[in-house]
């Protein structure tokens, strides 16, 4: 698919929606947590890992996918979920622990599942890699179309699961794209402090996979690289390790002061950059861009409203859904 203006306006819309979602969640998160920060307080308790800065990854990669494709994300799933079209009302309600949530409040923000758009996530590092590969295997066996994309962080690439799964993807030429989101940090640990090589995409040759690297955190470039990877997967040419340099603007989780980040490593917000670029390229006027952003905010405000107005689950519901096929 060529990089049409429409597509690029879509990237902007997706990124704005994702940012608006995170900003809204951050605002909710801090409710009840000040002046003394504590995970368990407020309307949105627990750990919260926001995607601010990584919006181009979700927007660019998901635009290269079809509805039959499958996604697993990690502990930082919002930007991918939003870009994939996960139900925003029910996702917001899930984060607030409401009965109308995607998982009726049982999952929480690290456990976003929306089978309607083939989306799943997990809070255990690199767990989703094998799950994605297994989904791809299933489609092959079912002779149904569909490739799988595993979104992980650059920190996760040092987990053993990465190796085991990449090897099988290469061995069996499974239609899998491993998106390594290199935001330079795994909690406080820099990539150079954790990873023996500069680029995880260079590790692809150890698995007979293709490797691609995009260093711009720009959805245009990400989309084009993802499209190539997806095309290879669909054509039966096997998997790709697609490493994307991105950003983590809101810290590891809420409450992370990021004092460990040296001044010269301060990251850049991709949204204003892309906005300028689209204006420069004549794809959008400033007004149009801002209208889209405002619309995104409004949409998320409605999602938050929906969530807040939703009932809490009944305590007894905790016992349901342990096993499928049992009375709830």
């Amino acid at each position: 698919m060529p990089l049409t203006p429409e597509l690029r306006r879509g990237f902007w819309r997706t990124m704005c929606l994702s940012r608006a979602f995170d900003d809204a969640m951050i605002a909710l998160y801090w409710e009840g947590k000040l002046p003394i920060f504590q995970f368990g307080a407020g309307p949105l308790p627990g750990e919260l890992h926001c995607s601010n800065g990584a919006e181009p990854v979700g927007a660019g990669v998901c635009a290269a996918l079809g509805p039959e494709d499958m996604i697993t994300a990690d502990h930082r799933p919002h930007h991918v979920a939003v870009a994939r079209g996960v139900d925003l009302d029910r996702m917001a309600a899930e984060l607030l622990g409401r009965r109308t949530g995607l998982s009726q409040g049982k999952g929480g923000h690290m456990h976003i599942y929306d089978p309607a758009v083939n989306f799943a996530s997990s809070g255990i590092i690199a767990e989703g890699m094998a799950v994605a590969a297994g989904m791809a295997l299933a489609r092959r066996l079912q002779k149904r179309p569909g490739i799988a994309v595993a979104f992980i962080g650059e920190g996760a690439a040092n987990q053993g699961a990465f190796h085991e799964v990449c090897n099988m993807v290469g061995l069996w030429k499974l239609p899998v794209v491993v998106v390594v989101q290199d935001n330079e940090w795994a909690v406080s640990t820099g990539k150079r402090e954790s990873t023996a090589v500069e680029r995880n995409s260079d590790r692809a040759s150890a698995y007979a996979m293709a490797g691609e690297w995009v260093g711009t955190n720009d959805p245009d470039d990400i989309f084009l690289a993802a499209e190539r990877a997806v095309a290879r997967a669909r054509a039966g040419e096997g998997g790709t390790i697609l490493e994307l340099r991105t950003a983590r603007l809101a810290g590891h989780f809420m409450g992370d002061q990021q004092a460990y980040i040296p001044a010269q490593m301060k990251q850049v917000d991709p949204l204003p950059l892309y906005r300028e670029k689209l204006i420069r390229d004549g794809v959008l006027s400033a007004e149009e861009a801002d209208a889209i952003a405002a619309e995104a905010k409004a949409r998320i405000a409605r999602a938050v409203e929906f969530a807040k107005a939703s009932p809490w689950p009944e305590p007894a519901e905790a016992m349901a859904h342990v096993f499928a096929g049992e009375p709830a």
Partner: protein
Amino acid sequence: MSRILTMARAGREALDWEMERRPEIVCLGEDVFKMGGIFGTMDGFGAKYGPERVISTPISETGFIGMAAGAAMAGMHPVVDLAYIDFIGVCYNVLLNCASKTHYMSGGAVKVPMTLLIGTGGGYNNAAQHSQCLHATVAHIPGVKVVYPSNAYDAKGMLHTALRDDNFVIYLTHKGTAGVGWMGPPIPTTLAEVPEEPYTVPFGRVKVYREGTDVTVTGLGMSVHEALKAAAELEKEGISVEVVDLRSLVPLDREGIMESVAKTGRLVVTDEDYLSYGVSGEVIATVAERDPGVFKKPPVRVTMPDIPIPFSRPLEQAVLPLAGRIADAVRRLMS
């Protein structure tokens, strides 16, 4: 028509029947294509079903069991052979946090129908890393069903049940009970008349192998057969032992256990797994929390002690929950 079969052959029959009819069933595991799994549950399946459905994997348990979970979420029903339960250490996260919890964490939106076949146990001098049972290590995880047939009839019926269950089921078989040649001649009490037709054995019910009035002995896997040996011996001494096979750890038939102990008033719990924080404590607690008054004597545990399993024959024989130790425990309860 029914024939006398070993557990291994009976289990194979169930899997074969389901595979013939249900394309969503695929087999994965190390060496399954050429070797058919640790107990031959997939024996000949490579030739019959081809490499697409009988997939030999690299030694990458986190990878391929995780893939099985993913395939299950996408509509397949994978059957995975993990050979020895000792190896769960390298893939425990898939069991603990993924296959078991996804249905719940998704609020019921995502099902993970998969069956994990694992061999357990020692008694053949395979030492500390190849002889474990680890019953509690899997049964303690919420969201997974754990079953453990000890005879051919149950082996077939429970595997049919597992394969038709929409959940993650761990299906344990003690190596010594399966009736595979490399473990010696089959134990007679593991053999059973097995109908050729498919049938299911429901999970969550104990099986009373032998009724008795003086002492209840619970067991699972191999220890059932040691209990049966002990019971036969004790009968000669005039002691009537009821042998209860738990056979399903999750769900556990707590009322079935209670019923037997309420009748006999005496309980010996056998378990080849380690003593502490495991099945043996759970069985005793199950009775005690219902009515400790049923105990005429304090219940006794005959289990693997809390030690790594020694290699040398006299050492291993001394610590296994064998018939002799079980019979002694029963005698002490009757004295």
